[in-house]
């Protein structure tokens, strides 16, 4: 293994059923159902997936969902807005955790 991440490994994703077929297939059933159009449109779900992909720093998902956004005719501006939503959420999550820090400070300091 020369690299931990290899773009060619993206095509291996459908094979993750290997060694645990039942769970893998159950996952894909759920994955397909959760990412295809429902009450939310496929476009909306794809933008959510893109935001999650970037916040979770998954290179495979970023590759897959950027391509899917392009295929669905989603504009570059819309994609970047989704990424900013994810970024703001991550920043908010970090800052919200400062509550713990502030509470500890207030308890510990004289």
């Amino acid at each position: 293994m020369s690299n931990y991440y290899d773009s060619k490994d993206l095509v291996d994703f459908p094979k993750i059923t290997e060694f645990a077929k039942e769970q893998g297939e159950t996952f894909f059933q759920y994955y397909d159902s959760a990412t295809s159009a429902g009450t939310l449109t496929e476009r909306e779900k794809t933008l959510i997936a893109l935001a999650v992909a970037t916040t979770q720093k998954c290179p495979y998902c970023i590759d897959a969902y950027t391509n899917k956004c392009l295929s669905l005719g989603i504009s570059n501006d819309e994609m970047m807005e989704a990424v900013h939503t994810g970024a703001a959420m991550v920043a908010g999550v970090v800052l919200a955790h400062s509550t713990q820090m502030r509470k500890i400070i207030k308890k510990k300091e004289m």
Binding site: A37, N67, K68, L70, L72, S75
Partner: protein
């Protein structure tokens, strides 16, 4: 890039098994035509635009124009009962000086008559009369509008093209083209502006309809998704941008045996500007004429022999069999997307 160079590049494509092997493995047979319903005629390579994805390599500098005697021979073939659709493409078909005459004659046959127009040309005084000619002969107009974002369309088709297409669509709508209650059909072709695959046809059609009406006040009938074929200028783009290998891998990876069964070449034949016959417009641009001992010019046309001919294939054919399939009529898998 000349055709030999294109075929050489495609022949060694990116670690995929050859299309021939892939097809024969999934279908247990060779790819052959089953009928000739569609007569697709490329009336010339001259065009007022020079789009970056054009597989024809068409442009204002091209001189190949189908002469009247070849068009007459096409008309004779079009009269045959089996042929239900006459599909005219180019270049810009309007730049063939015999097109108006041909439409008049073809219109009399009472068959489905399609012209693939870039629409931009209809804004030029010399060609504006075609709008009436199309309506008079009940021509279905199909135009390429790669994206509903003006910047993306212009990147592929040239600066200012998006808004000129919209302007021409407005003129066609005024003539009842694309209006729901009208019989005059205006369809749109979507193809990706870059090295990626098209999305689901039905979803994109809904999005195009919403955006084009809300933002520009224009309407159309149907949207067809076409996968960009790794041929001509688009192949050059893939190579120059470093996308060729990944794109071919995407096409191979998305091979769909059902789409392969429904490819357009099985029910059509393509005529080049000089009367040479091809299995499709893409083979035409690669110089791959009909083979396997078949008559290969319009002058020797023999429907008995040609309707079951073996199709000439290459790795570019992966472009028509990826995902839900791709043809000049859009996706090939019934009910898909």
């Amino acid at each position: 890039m000349d055709t030999n160079e294109q075929l050489r590049v495609l022949g060694g494509s990116a670690g995929c098994i050859s299309f021939k092997e892939r097809f024969e493995r999934s279908s247990k047979t060779r790819l052959a035509a089953t009928k000739i319903n569609i007569l697709q005629i490329n009336v010339g390579k001259r065009c007022n635009l020079s789009c970056r994805h054009c597989h024809v390599d068409a442009g204002p500098g091209r001189t190949e124009i189908m002469p009247k005697e070849i068009l007459s021979a096409c008309l004779k073939i079009a009269k045959q009962k089996e042929v239900s659709t006459i599909d005219i493409t180019g270049g810009a078909p309007e730049m063939n000086p015999h097109l108006e005459w041909f439409l008049r004659e073809a219109g009399k046959l009472g068959k489905r008559l399609i012209v693939r127009s870039n629409l931009v040309i209809l804004l030029e005084d010399a060609y504006a009369g075609f709008i009436d000619a199309y309506a008079k002969n009940s021509v279905e107009v199909v135009t390429s509008l790669p994206d509903y974002h003006d910047d993306r369309t212009d990147r592929q088709r040239g600066s200012g093209v998006f808004f000129r297409i919209i302007q021409a669509m407005r003129m066609l709508n005024q003539k009842d083209y694309g209006i729901e209650e009208s019989e005059l059909v205006l369809d749109i072709v979507h193809n990706p502006v870059g090295a990626y695959m098209p999305g689901a046809q039905k979803a994109l059609e809904a999005e195009y309809k919403k955006r084009l009406f809300n933002e520009h006040g224009v309407v159309f009938n149907r949207l067809f998704c076409i996968t960009n074929m790794p041929v001509g200028r688009y192949l050059e783009y893939l190579l120059k941008s470093g996308n060729f290998e990944d794109y071919m891998a995407d096409l191979c990876g998305a091979y769909n045996p059902l789409a392969a069964e429904n490819v357009m070449c099985r029910s059509s034949i393509s005529v080049g500007w000089d009367g040479v016959l091809y299995d499709c417009d893409f083979n035409q641009m690669l110089g791959l004429r009909i083979n396997h001992g078949m008559p290969y010019t319009i002058m020797d046309f023999n429907i008995e022999k040609l309707r079951s001919r073996e199709i000439v294939i290459g790795n570019h054919c992966y472009g028509c069999t990826a995902g839900t399939g791709s043809s000049c009529k859009g996706t090939t898998v019934v009910g898909a997307g």
